[in-house]
Structures are given as structure tokens and as C-alpha cells.
Amino acid sequence: MEGLFRHKKVFLQLLVAGGILLLAAAEDTGPRRFFLKPTLELPVDTVYRYLVLEEDSIPNDTLFQLRSAEGFPLAYYRKINTNVCFDGTCRMLKVQLYWNITGRYLGIELPPGEFLSKTDHEKFNLSEYARMNHLLADSLSPLADFTFEDLVPPAGDLLPEGAAAPTLGNPALGGLTADAVTSATAPAMADYVVAGAAYTTYRLWHFVYGPTRDEIQRLTQQSLSDGLLVHILASPDASDVAWGLQRAGDYLSSSGPLREAVLSRIANEDFSLASMAIDAIGPASLSSSAFQQALMRKLSGLNYSLKNKLVDKLGEAPALDPEVRAALVKSLETASGSYLSHLFALLLKQKVNDAETCLEISNLLEHENHFVASQTFQFLEKAACEDEVVQQRMNRYRNKR
């Protein structure tokens, strides 16, 4: 379900300008906002509302999507109203949680007069808000795997009588609340929570990485386009780029800038992103000779792991460009180890078995390294080259073994 209202706000652009975190207003006089850098820093033009049907521990059922004038999604947020208990006294925590369009945590906004507080009723100070922001941004936090019991030793953690503790769908949380009473956070977990606010950290983290995140990714995916992907691939955040590369395959062939953006990620600096960029390339793109040649130019500068992966990718081409094929055959002369095996596998996949190429390759049967000679022989056997000279050389190798 989707609703729409126009908002003409520009807060995203303003709040993130020049840094990771900004305090937007003086204490207790306006909303406080703590934000990371979004993928797109454009003015907000429109706000859409979506009814979240997925089971979630967030009581409010509306997910808000902010969009730019171009129609690009910019961010999402949900209003969180939940009880947090301190020494038997519960108070309503009101915050707005923001997500980036790729589903990562983006920031937190506290309405005027609202604040986060700790066990001893103390309000968060600025550094504690910054720490909370940092902890919520950690998608790999162990908070994902640990129960609340792991976080806080049970002794002394029982809720005051009559108080109902939310369990986040986790029975281990029933009857427990971290920021209640005086229990210390387990030492091994202290790195992952704000001191004195273990429960608040735990709850907010699980809100951020709960079902809403999947819904956000689904919604952004519905809005994907070549143009939006180019923006995402230019993000300084590696997780955004990874998100984009994992979805770029379907859009790749039709866009020059997108193709360039994907190609630019095939580099030694980041194995995972380079790997995803290679994975994004499909047969449609590979049918272009120019694209194959562009990949070939990349090949020589790549490290071994990526080289093999790129060679395997070229094997998926509907047909090898003659120049690329010649360059690959030439590179056999100096190839070693598994790179040699990958090159031969590519040539077999591409059904390369013409007499001229086989003759050139058969020179390697005389190689001093028996592994190279043996790999060459196996290729020639599988390729079923019928050239007479090649056959003679193969027989000679066979007899010599």
C-alpha cells in the first residue's frame, strides 16, 4: 500500500554536508539528528508512505520513502515509539530511524524534547549519540547473533513486577531488560553497546536490521534504473557499491555510463567489489567485441585471483572476438599454474580448434615444465585438433611420457 505527500524538505542534503555526523539544533529546542552519508545527496521532493505488512517488532506500520525530483529514492524512515524501562520506571522512547536506499543504517532523529538515556537516568551526551550512531552502522555487529542474555548477565536483570518486557520475538528477552536495574554488561559485549544503554542499543540495532531493511531493499529495487545504479556505484560506501553491483547485471548492456562504472570496479584495490563487477557481466554485454576488448585490457593489470575470474567470464561470451582470442592464445606462452589451466578451459569452452591456433599451441608440448606440457597435451586431445603436424607432435609427446 502506498501513499504520497509532498514535502519540499532539504534536510538530507544539509545534515550530511561535510561530515559523518551533525547535531542539527541546540539541545532540547529542536530535533537532533545523527546521520551517516547517504548514497544520494539530493533535495527531498516527495515523501511516499508504505504500509509495512511484514511481521515486525516496530509497532508503527508505516515506512516513509523520501524521493528526489528526478524520482530517485533518497532515504527511508520509520517512527519508533517504544517503552524503555529504568529501575522500574518506563518511559516512551520516540525516535525516527533512517535507512539508506541500499538498506544500510543511515541515521537517527530525535523529536524536540526527546532524548536517549542511560541506566542512571542520565541523558546521552554528544559522544554517546555518536557512539550509538557508530554501533548502529555496524551491520556485522555480534548483536545479530547474541541473545539479550549474552549481552547482560541475568542476575539482577529481572523486570520489576508487573512490567511487561518486549522480547523482540526472542523468548530469551522475556522478563529481561538491560537498561533496567544495575546489571553490568557482559565484558565481551561491552564493545558493541553504549555503556549504560545496552538494551536500547540492542533494540535499536535489531530494528535497523530487522524486516524493514528487506522491505527497503525491495522498494529501491523496484525503482532501479541505469541512472540510479550509476549513482550507487559512485558511492564512497563500499556496501552501497556492492549492493549496486549485485543488481547491475540486468541493466548493464543498455547503458554506456553504467558499463564504464562496472568496468572501473574491476581493479585490484578491492577484491570483493571487483569480483562482483565481473559477476555482473552477462552474455549480452559479452557479445560486444568492444566490451571484450575492454575486459582484455583490464586483464594484464589484474592480480592472479581476478585474472582467473575474468578469463572464466570471457569463456561465457557467445563468441570470442578474434583480437581477444589471439591475445589469449599468445598469453599461453608465459602463463603458469592455474592461470594456464583457466586459459585452456576458456579456449575449450569457446571451441577453439582451428589448425593455425592448435599448431601454435602445440609448441608448448616441448616445454621444459612437464605441467605446462601436460596441460597442453590435454587441451589438444580434448579440442580434437585434426592438423597432421599437431597430431605428430602429440604422438611424440605421448611416446616420451
Partner: protein, 443 residues
């Protein structure tokens, strides 16, 4: 009595049966350029490297398959290949890991996202059975002569050649070669060759990997279970060391890398037999106990490795001993041949609290730490490298051993070609050979 006598004198043979010749051990003489002893984490990589570089290579493995800790030990998450966003261990080890992951439709972690203090987020989980088969395929493809079920019992060096005597099922072989690579992890061949090896008074515990299932953790009365376990501990039915006294931890993890077997030592058949028996006894006792707990009556043992994997035995006394200080400061050695990257990870009776490296630190391994003092034509790879105990607790991890295996083999290949010892190999040529096979040498 008459029937028995008759049986001994002339066994009755059915149609198609054949009476075996009287038993005798077959003597064999073999020769190679390089012999790799131990087909575990490091040895697998070393043998493939030596074969691919064109040397006639024999691998001796006391067990039935390749991979060691990764496969037989069941620790099928072979350490960390990326540090601070950059790949630091590549080559043949990484090639195998990638292919095992792809063939099982598993996914690699996103190494672009820093793991922070949770180094295990960058661990690659793989199917150990696929890994073992791929390793074997690649080794055969590299022309390596694999000899399973065989173990050395004597090493002699004369006239620039090693003579290794091995024994296996029905076989007593004498293998002559130019270079030996000891990848056993426990440095037994090093000791056999007469070089010094070192061991701590107390060694880290071993682990028998297993998996249990058949209960719903969330529906269990955990307080009651904890109480029952504590009572059993108090009665002396279990020791705290086995699962750190944490029965809920065991139930939650469903096994995996959680059990501790104290004094587990794989150096000899006898010591490893004891480690295996102790591992299985501990598990059986716990399984029986768990099945008495309310809600756990149908607990099943889904999987169990065939060996208790060990963490620490002997180390060589090498030309250089890597210290804890070297490791945590990421000392760059002039003769560095490989990287290592893992927290200091010393297990003891209380468990383990990894001590993480400071941001940007990537330790390196010098060639000298792989070569025993006073040795010729001899090199080691894997956890028995020359290092102090704390450094070794991180260096012993599989990815580091893979990097070492490739580097040691490259050194042995060049030494074999030139008729020299690994320490005499020109460093630039060594770097070139490792890199041409995808290995990563510290800059």
C-alpha cells in the same frame, strides 16, 4: 581337532577364490626432486606448487585424504585471506577455497566491509569434502605422486640427496630426493632428520568437531539444564574444560568448534590415539547426558569428524624465531615470503579470548623461520615453523599455513633446480616464482 588340522593344512577354496601368497612387505625404491611429507593444510598447497613448477614431486600422507585440519579436522573455515581490505594470502590455497565455495553454491563474505573485532566474519565456510576432492584433482593434475597411508620412519642426508624410508600398508619404500618439505605440522620428520624441535610443557587443547540436532533451544528450560549440568560437574561426571562448563553454549552452537580436549597431541600414533579416544569419550558422555534433559530426548549426533584436531605440538628451531612482538607489530622481514593475519589465539582450559591486531598490522613470515638450523635441502611449512608460542597461536591458522606451503615449495623448487639449499635461493627469483603462481609476497 581333526577338522581344525585339516583346515590349516588345506583351506577349502570356493570357485573363484585364490589363496594369497605368503605375506611379505613389498620393498620399493623411488626417486623424486621433492618429497612433501604431510598432505594437510600446508602440504597440499606445497605439493601442488612443486608439481606445477615442473619438479617431480612425491607426497606422503599418513591418512586417507588431503586437506588436514580443513577436511579431516573438520575446521572447514580456513582462516582469513584478507586484511584491512586487501588480499594478503592468495595463490593455490585461495584458488582451492574459491573453487570449493563456487562448487557448493556458497558465497564469499564481502571483504570490503571491515570485520572489526569479529574476525570470523571474514572466515570462508566451505564444504570440506569438495575441498578434499578438488585438492586431490589439482595435485594429480600437477603430476604429483600421492602416497596415502604412508609415514616416514627414517631420514638420512648424504651427497646432497635425502633418503627417506617410509612404511605403509604392505609397503616399505625408500625414496631418494633432493629436497624435503616437512608439512606434518608436528615436525616429526625434522626431528627424525636430527634437527632440534621445541615443545611447550603445556600445549593448547584439541577439538573434535561434531554437529548435534533434534531439539528446539528456545523451548528448553535453560535454567533447569544449567542446574543439571552443574550438578553433573560437581559429581565429577564432566570437567569444566570440555565445554567451559557451558552446556547452553554447546546446545546453542550445536557442536562445531567448541569442545576442548586437554593435552591433545598428534605427534605420534599413540598420542593421537589418546586424543581421539578422549574426544569421542567426551562427546559420547555429553550426548548421553543431553538425551536425559527435558526437551532434548531426541538429540541426534548428525556428524562427527574422524579425528580430534590438534592446535599445538612441536616447532622447529629455525634460523629465525618469530616472536609475539614481531607478530603484533607486523615486522617486515627482508626475506619475508608470505603474510599471516589472525588475532593471537591461544586456547586454554578457560577457552580463548582473541587478542586482535591493531588496525593496519599485517604480520609477515621470513624464509629463515621455515628452515631448521644446521639443515641442508630441508624446509618446513605450516604450524611447526619457528616461532614463540604466542606468535604460533596465530601463525598456525590455515590460511597462513597455505601461504607458507606455497612459499616453502617455491623455495624448494628453486633449490632443487640449482642444487642448493632453500636459504641460498636468490630472493628475487623466489618472489618471482611465487607471484607467477598467484602467491602474494610481502612488498
Amino acid at each position: 581337532m581333526g577338522a581344525i588340522s585339516l583346515g590349516i593344512a588345506a583351506p577349502s577354496l570356493s570357485k573363484g577364490d585364490r589363496l594369497a601368497e605368503p605375506y611379505r612387505t613389498r620393498r620399493q625404491s623411488l626417486s623424486a626432486d621433492i618429497v612433501v611429507i604431510g598432505g594437510g593444510t600446508a602440504g597440499t598447497i606445497a605439493a601442488i606448487q612443486a608439481g606445477r613448477a615442473g619438479r617431480k614431486t612425491i607426497l606422503i600422507e599418513a591418512g586417507s585424504q588431503l586437506g588436514g585440519t580443513t577436511t579431516v579436522g573438520g575446521v572447514a573455515f580456513p582462516g582469513i585471506f584478507f586484511a584491512w581490505g586487501e588480499q594478503i594470502i592468495g595463490g593455490i590455497g585461495w584458488e582451492l577455497v574459491q573453487e570449493a565455495v563456487a562448487m557448493n553454491d556458497d558465497t564469499l563474505p564481502n571483504f570490503s566491509i571491515p570485520h572489526g573485532r569479529q574476525h570470523w566474519r571474514h572466515q570462508v565456510r566451505l564444504n570440506p569434502h569438495i575441498y578434499a576432492m578438488l585438492a586431490e584433482e589439482k595435485m594429480l593434475e600437477a603430476g604429483v605422486d600421492i602416497r596415502y597411508y604412508e609415514t616416514p620412519f627414517a631420514l638420512r642426508f648424504a651427497k646432497n640427496r635425502w633418503e627417506i624410508e617410509t612404511v605403509g600398508k604392505g609397503v616399505h619404500a625408500t625414496i631418494t630426493c633432493n629436497q624435503v618439505i616437512d608439512c606434518t605440522g608436528n615436525a616429526l620428520p625434522t626431528a627424525m632428520a636430527g634437527y632440534d624441535v621445541i615443545r611447550e610443557e603445556e600445549i593448547q587443547p584439541g577439538t573434535l568437531m561434531f554437529k548435534i540436532d533434534g531439539y528446539e533451544l528456545e523451548s528448553l528450560d535453560q535454567d533447569l539444564i544449567k542446574q543439571r549440568y552443574q550438578e553433573a560437574l560437581d559429581r565429577g561426571e564432566f570437567t569444566r574444560e570440555e565445554f567451559r562448563g557451558n552446556i547452553i553454549g554447546l546446545l546453542r552452537s550445536q557442536g562445531d568448534n567448541i569442545q576442548h580436549i586437554m593435552d591433545a597431541d598428534s605427534t605420534t600414533s599413540e598420542s593421537h590415539t589418546i586424543a581421539n579416544i578422549n574426544g569421542r569419550k567426551s562427546l559420547l558422555r555429553h550426548l548421553r547426558f543431553i538425551r536425559t534433559l527435558p526437551g532434548c530426548e531426541k538429540t541426534k549426533l548428525v556428524d562427527m569428524q574422524t579425528e580430534t584436531a590438534t592446535r599445538e605440538t612441536f616447532r622447529i628451531d629455525g634460523h629465525y624465531r618469530i616472536t609475539h612482538e614481531d607478530y603484533v607489530t607486523g615486522k617486515k622481514f627482508d626475506d619475508a615470503v608470505s603474510y599471516s593475519y589472525y588475532p593471537i589465539d591461544l586456547h586454554d582450559a578457560h577457552g580463548v579470548i582473541p587478542d586482535h591486531l591493531e588496525e593496519g598490522v599485517v604480520p609477515t613470515i621470513p624464509l629463515r623461520a621455515l628452515v631448521p638450523k644446521n639443515s641442508r635441502n630441508f624446509i618446513v611449512a605450516g604450524r611447526c615453523l619457528s616461532s614463540d608460542r604466542l606468535a604460533n597461536s596465530a601463525l598456525r591458522v590455515q590460511a597462513s599455513c597455505m601461504g607458507m606451503g606455497q612459499a616453502a615449495a617455491a623455495a624448494a623448487v628453486l633449490a632443487s633446480r640449482k642444487g642448493i639449499s632453500p636459504l641460498e635461493v636468490p630472493y628475487d627469483e623466489l618472489r618471482e616464482l611465487i607471484e607467477s603462481h598467484g602467491g602474494i609476497v610481502p612488498a
